[in-house]
């Protein structure tokens, strides 16, 4: 029985179509994803838009349908719990969303916004205790109870996100799921919220699942990183090593696209040799999902799904040729006879 969050071979599928003419089909948003987050640890989920980051997060709290796999919390399997039992443990897992103004009811005052989760999950809590918990949460996120009567529009973006975080921690959760929680904020505020999350983590021993498209923020925040592409794990490992020396061609392309605030570094960046376009998730390519954009794609990649395997201690990657590419970043398969798919290798 392991402590914290354990996700085993999770898949999320959404039905699409099913109108008068359209055939009802399923789109796979997340396929076969396994990961663990232990108390005090921050695990980052990265990938481009449409890679399944948010579907994965939402599936953990039943906001997206789980079609296969298991979600376990502190050794307890949540997947088969009935609604009542799930609600009982739901305070343990809380979410912080991207847009604080969209996720806060504009007609509720700050104190009521933070009271709402308490009233939902602890309806019998005495008013005095509830007020104490609200004041504590407000203090923990760096706001003041003098603002208790204000409405969301009277707060700045950073303050509104602090309210969003207060709503999550007022339930004393053990796992915080941050879904692009700082992406909408200006950098001057973003850095403050990141520091707040780190402080809350050490004070409360939180496990954090940190979903972000920003690799620089992820390196700063996370202990380990999981890289998703079209819903599958491409690579997983310690944040520092994975971002300093990525193993999967997709992670390499992501890393090579990150600009620096140093002009000397940024001006040396060249676009990675991968195509712009994500394949449609309705018609994902056979074999490796990344083969249509991969500069190293070989015939095997068009037929066989690469298995995620550990090639460096603590680091795993789902690529048939990860060792070859690690040894020689310019590695190409010797004989290119494409099998049934197009392999676009346009370079800038």
């Amino acid at each position: 029985m392991s402590e914290g969050l354990e996700v085993r071979a999770l898949s999320v599928r959404y039905p699409v179509g099913g109108g008068v003419f359209a055939q009802r089909r399923d789109v796979a948003a997340v396929t076969d994803v396994s990961l663990q987050v232990v108390p005090g640890e921050t695990v980052g989920i990265v990938g481009e838009s449409g890679c399944g980051k948010s579907s994965l997060a939402r599936a953990l709290v039943r906001l997206a349908p789980v079609s296969a796999g298991r979600v376990c919390w502190d050794g307890q399997d949540l997947t088969d719990l009935d609604e009542d039992a799930f609600r009982k443990m739901r305070p343990d897992i809380q979410m912080v969303f991207q847009d604080p103004f969209a996720s806060l009811n504009p007609r509720m005052r700050m104190a009521d916004l933070i009271a709402e989760p308490l009233k939902t999950h602890h309806p019998n809590m005495p008013g005095s205790e509830r007020r104490k918990r609200i004041a504590q949460a407000v203090d923990q996120v760096g706001l003041s109870m003098e603002m208790a009567g204000r409405f969301p529009h009277e707060f700045s973006g950073g303050q509104a996100q602090r309210i969003g975080i207060a709503r999550a921690i007022v339930l004393r959760p053990k796992l915080l799921i941050c879904d692009e929680a700082v992406s909408a904020l200006d950098v001057s505020v973003q850095a403050l919220i990141l520091a707040l999350l780190k402080r809350l983590q050490s004070e409360l021993g939180l496990a954090i699942l940190f979903i972000s498209h920003d690799l620089a923020v992820v390196r700063h925040m996370c202990d380990r990183v999981v890289v998703l592409y079209l819903g599958r794990v491409m690579e997983e490992g310690p944040a520092g090593a994975l971002l300093a020396d990525p193993l999967h061609p997709y992670t390499r392309a992501l890393r090579a696209s990150v600009l620096s605030r140093d002009p000397g570094v940024s001006r040396g960046r060249r676009p990675p040799a991968i195509g712009d376009d994500l394949p449609s998730p309705l018609a994902p390519p056979p074999g490796c999902l990344f083969q249509t954009r991969c500069p190293h794609a070989a015939p095997l990649c068009a037929t066989d799904v690469p298995v995620q395997r550990e090639i460096v201690p603590g680091r795993s990657v789902a690529c048939h040729y990860a060792e070859n590419i690690a040894a020689d970043p310019g590695w190409r398969p010797g004989n290119q006879t494409e099998v049934g798919t197009s392999c676009r290798m346009r370079s800038a």
């Binding site: 505020v189 498209h213 600009l259 620096s260 570094v265």
Partner: protein, 342 residues
């Protein structure tokens, strides 16, 4: 605030010059100042970056140049010697889209979803350049190739929703170039795009500047985008230009404390792991607040009494080189305070 423009008269390369430009909104709650005292000169064939956070006035400034703001515009702007702001709406028909073209952040809202790429591109050339359909089609195809849209001959018949976000932004850039503008203003052109696509679009814009001599104004909240793209850089805060000069100088040896703090707040994967981004406590002053002071004073760690009583003029200081201006009573000395940046 009267500020001499260092590059206005010498060399006379300036395509667009604006002096003391302001944008104000009269509201029931009082007058809101969006932009104040902005003077700048765009040099031909160069990328001028305007960086600032939300509410800094960077978008309002460039929208005021072609009457796209609903606010009241004060001061003046000239394009190739012709006054363009503030002027009556109809006087801008030959400027907006023709001599100054825009690329906006979200191509899905800027493109008409009911019309094909071909129709939308050709319309620009038939309207502004009086080309016939065949000539406009030829120009549209040529530009789609130049913005590196693969298979342009078939893509030109697509509707916007049939294209990916990156392709739509390429179409927007092609559309901006259709009337051979003298200045292209790109307002957060890659903010909605994934990093791999962002770098390709920026690389394309940079090539267009180099090979075609395009004069580009690039607006972004992202210091790192400026590090890649900008030749000249303008830093805005609360509606005012607080620092301007060569981008490489500003980004490595800023003179304004805000520029320094903005750089240090930006997460950077190429900095040492322990160089954590440092936030800036406090808030932007409201647009209706008092302006007879330095607007960054309440968040600044170099603040003195004078900062709260007199707005610092924008100009050169002992520590800055030619063409590098700063609006600060206590500017950072050259080469000082590299808080983990370069």
């Amino acid at each position: 605030m009267v500020v001499p423009l260092s590059s206005t008269h010498d060399g006379d390369e300036s395509v667009l010059v604006c002096r003391d430009l302001g944008v104000r909104f009269a509201t029931p709650a009082g007058t809101m100042v969006a932009v104040e005292g902005a003077s700048l000169a765009l040099r031909r064939g160069r990328v001028t970056g305007i960086v600032g956070e939300s509410g800094s006035g960077k978008s309002q400034l460039v929208m005021a140049l072609t009457g796209l703001t609903v606010g009241e515009v004060t001061g003046s702007a000239e394009l190739g010697g012709m006054r363009i702001a503030p002027v009556p709406e109809r006087a801008l028909a030959d400027v907006r889209g023709r001599r100054i073209a825009y690329v906006f952040q979200d191509p899905m809202t800027a493109l008409n979803p009911y019309l094909t790429v071909a129709t939308q591109l050709e319309e620009v050339a038939t309207h502004h350049l009086n080309l016939d359909r065949a000539g406009a089609r030829k120009k549209a195809l040529d530009l789609l190739n130049r913005v590196r849209i693969p298979d342009a001959e078939s893509r030109i018949a697509s509707f916007p929703h049939e294209l990916s976000g990156g392709m739509r932004q390429r179409v927007m850039i092609a559309m901006a170039l259709m009337a051979d503008p003298e200045v292209v203003i790109a307002d957060e052109p890659t903010t909605a795009l994934d990093a791999t696509v962002q770098l390709r679009i920026l690389d394309l814009l940079r090539d267009l500047c180099r090979t075609d001599g395009l004069t580009l104004v690039l607006i972004s909240h992202d210091i790192s985008v400026m590090a890649l793209m900008a030749d000249d850089l303008i830093v805005m805060y609360a509606g005012r230009i607080v620092e301007r000069g060569p981008a490489a100088t500003l980004l490595t040896s800023p003179a304004h404390p805000y520029t320094r703090r903005l750089i240090d707040a930006t997460p950077d994967l190429d900095s040492p792991v322990d160089a954590a981004p440092v936030g800036i406590p406090g808030q932007l002053p409201g647009p209706a607040g008092p302006r007879d002071r330095c607007l960054f004073a309440d968040r600044c760690d170099r603040v003195g009494d004078v900062c709260r009583t007199a707005p610092p003029p924008l100009g050169s200081t002992a520590g800055t080189t030619a063409g590098h201006d700063v609006a600060c009573h206590f500017p950072l000395p050259a080469d000082a305070g590299s808080g983990g940046g370069a």
